[in-house]
C-alpha cells in the first residue's frame, strides 16, 4: 500500500494534534479541525490503513490513535517543515552568548542554559574535544604543605592546573618549570608522546637533586596533565523537565541513567558526518531511552566536529523547533570557537 497524499495529510494531522495534546487522536477531531473536506468515517478508514502500515497505534479498541516510532521517523525524514526561530530570540541568545565570549566553559554552560530555556527539555552538552591544543606556557610553582603546582596554558587560554605532592623550594620549582616549558612550549598536545616527556629526564637530573623515583613521578605527572588537557566535560541541565512526561519510576531510572557521564558521552556522539542526529524511541539502543527521543547536533571548530549539544525529550517533542534551536545555537558556538581558537587572523 502506498502513502498517498491524503494518508500523508491525515498522518501529519494526527502527529500535529498528538504533539499538542499528548492524547490519542480520534477521527472526528481530524475531520473537524483540518478542513480536508472528509467525513470522520473516511478518515477512520484511512487511519485503519495507516495502522496496518505501522504508522499509527491504537492503545485500545475504543481509543483514538497515536503515532508510532515509524511515524515520527517518517515525519522527521520527509514531512517536517523548517521551523523559523524568531528574530528576537536569535538576538537575545546572541547577546547572552557573547557576554561570556572568552571563557570556554562559561560559553558551553551558557549554551546549555539557552538550549534548555528554548526547548524546555533536558540539555546535554560536551566541552570541545580539541585534539590540537597548542601549548603556550608551562609553569611550576611551589606551594605550602609540601606540594607543587603545575600550570599549563594553551594558546586559546585553557588553563590546566594540577597539584603534585612534591616539596620544592621556589628556585627549584622555577628551574623545573623552565625545563618543562622549554620542552613543551609551542607543541600540540597530540604531538606530545611519553618519549617527548622522558627526553627531559637528563636535563632535570643534571640540574636538580631528585631521587630517581621522584623523577619518574614527575614525568608521569606531566604526561597525565597533558592528557587531561584533552579531556572533555559534559554538562546536563534541566533534568527536572523529565518529570513532565514520565512517571516517578521512569524518571528515577532516567536520573540514574544520566549520572553515568561516560556512557552519556558515548551516547551523544552520533554520526560525525551528519550535523544533526535524531534517535526516536526504540532507535535508542538504551532501555532507559526507549520512550524518549534524543536530538543532537555536532558543533565544530575549523570544520571538524569538536563537541555535541543535545536534547532529551518525549517522542512527541516538536522536532522542527528543537532541530532549529540546536542548529542555531551550535552555529553560534562554532563562530565563537573560531574567534577563540583561529582568531581574527585576517586583521
Amino acid at each position: 500500500m502506498e502513502l498517498n497524499e491524503r494518508k500523508l495529510r491525515i498522518l501529519q494531522a494526527v502527529i500535529d494534534e498528538y504533539m499538542g495534546t499528548a492524547e490519542p487522536v480520534g477521527s472526528r477531531v481530524i475531520s473537524k479541525k483540518n478542513n480536508l473536506g472528509l467525513s470522520s468515517a473516511t478518515i477512520r478508514n484511512e487511519m485503519a490503513d495507516l495502522e496496518e502500515m505501522g504508522f499509527l497505534i491504537q492503545p485500545h479498541t475504543s481509543a483514538g490513535r497515536i503515532p508510532s516510532d515509524a511515524a515520527y521517523r517518517y515525519y522527521v525524514n520527509s514531512m517536517m517543515k523548517r521551523y523559523k526561530i524568531g528574530v528576537k530570540t536569535i538576538e537575545q541568545l546572541q547577546l547572552a552568548l557573547e557576554q561570556k565570549i572568552n571563557q570556554l566553559d562559561s560559553i558551553i554552560k551558557k549554551a546549555s542554559h539557552i538550549t534548555s530555556a528554548l526547548t524546555d527539555y533536558t540539555t546535554i552538552i560536551t566541552t570541545p574535544e580539541l585534539k590540537s591544543n597548542s601549548i603556550k606556557k608551562c609553569e611550576l610553582v611551589s606551594l605550602s604543605g609540601g606540594c607543587s603546582l603545575l600550570i599549563i596554558i594553551t594558546q586559546a587560554g585553557i588553563v590546566k592546573n594540577k597539584i603534585l605532592t612534591l616539596s620544592l623550594d621556589d628556585a627549584s620549582a622555577a628551574l623545573l618549570g623552565e625545563i618543562i616549558n622549554k620542552t613543551l612550549c609551542g607543541l600540540c598536545t597530540n604531538d606530545i608522546t611519553f618519549d617527548k616527556i622522558q627526553s627531559m629526564q637528563n636535563e632535570i637530573s643534571q640540574r636538580l637533586d631528585l631521587s630517581p623515583k621522584a623523577l619518574i613521578n614527575i614525568l608521569d605527572f606531566i604526561y597525565e596533565a597533558i592528557e587531561e588537557l584533552d579531556d572533555t566535560d559534559i554538562y546536563i541541565e534541566n533534568e527536572k523537565s523529565i518529570l513532565k512526561y514520565n512517571d516517578i519510576e521512569k524518571a528515577q531510572k532516567m536520573f540514574t541513567f544520566l549520572e553515568d557521564k561516560k556512557n552519556l558521552k558515548k551516547l551523544i556522539k552520533g554520526d560525525p558526518n551528519s550535523k544533526v542526529n535524531i534517535k526516536i524511541g526504540s532507535e535508542n539502543k538504551v532501555e532507559e531511552l526507549k520512550d524518549c527521543s534524543l536530538v543532537t547536533v555536532n558543533y565544530s571548530l575549523n570544520n571538524k566536529t569538536a563537541g555535541q549539544l543535545g536534547v532529551i525529550g518525549p517522542k512527541r517533542m516538536n522536532y522542527a523547533k528543537v532541530v532549529a534551536s540546536l542548529n542555531c545555537i551550535s552555529e553560534h558556538i562554532d563562530k565563537i570557537l573560531y574567534q577563540m581558537y583561529i582568531g581574527e587572523s585576517g586583521e
Copy 2:
C-alpha cells in the same frame, strides 16, 4: 502535663517506627513490638495525651499517629542516641577522600559524593570561603584572538584564570604581568583594596603604551579577578532522592528551588557558632522546605568556619546517622584543609 518516662518511651517508639515505615503508627504496633508491658488501650491513652501536648498528629480519626515537628525537635534535642559509624565505612571514606587530597574542588566534590552515598539524601556543599588567600604569583599571557589571560595563583594552590579582551604582544603581556605580580604577590586577598590596584596605574602607563580607557579596564579587571578568587561554589548531589519522599509536583518545586544557588548559599549558612544545625519542617522559613529537614555542618579551617556541608531529606530521616555522617566527613575535610593551607609547618 509532664513528659514522664513512659510517655517518652512511647514517643520514642512512635518516632522509631515511623522512621522505618513512613506509615502512621497505631497503638497495637507499639504495644506488640516494644515490650513496655502495656496493653494497646493504655498506650492509646498515652498517645492521646501526647497528641494533646502537640507531639503527635493524627492524619484522620481512624489512622495511627505520626510525629509532629515538635516531636522531632524534642527527639533531636533530648532523645537522640549517638550513632556509631562503622569502622569499615570510616576507613573507606578516608581512603576515598585522601586519594584526591590536593585538588580543592575535587575534595569538595568527593566529600559531597560520599555524603550522598552514606545518607542517600540530597547533598549540598560549598567550597571554602577563604577570606585570606595569600597570593603566590600573578601572570599575564597573551593569547590568540586578541585576548590576554590573567592567572593568579594562591599560596594554597588555588588558580584563578580569567580572560581579558585586550590584545597584547608577548613582551607587553610579560611586562604587565610582572608589574601586577610585583604589586600583589605576597598579599592577602582581603587586604587588596581597589586603591592598591590603582597604585599600579602610574607604572603601567609609564612602561606600556595603553589608552587611558584600556588602563582603567585592566585595573577593574584585576580587581574583579581578585574578588572572584574569594567566591565560593556550591555543589548539589543526588537530587533524585527527592523523588523517594515527594510526589511529582512537590519534587518539581524542590528542583526549581535548588536551582537558585545564591539563595541556597544563604540558606545553608546556619548558626556559625554551633557545628551542627538542624532545621525541621516548618523551622525552615522557606515554603519549599516545609516538609523537609535540612541538616548542615560547618567545616572549618584553623578553627574558623570555612564552608558548609548539608543534607536535605524527609522529616523522618535518621537524624542520628545523618549527623554522625556529616560530622565525620566534615572532620576529614578539616584535616585535609589544614594540611593544604596551614601545611605541616612543624616538620
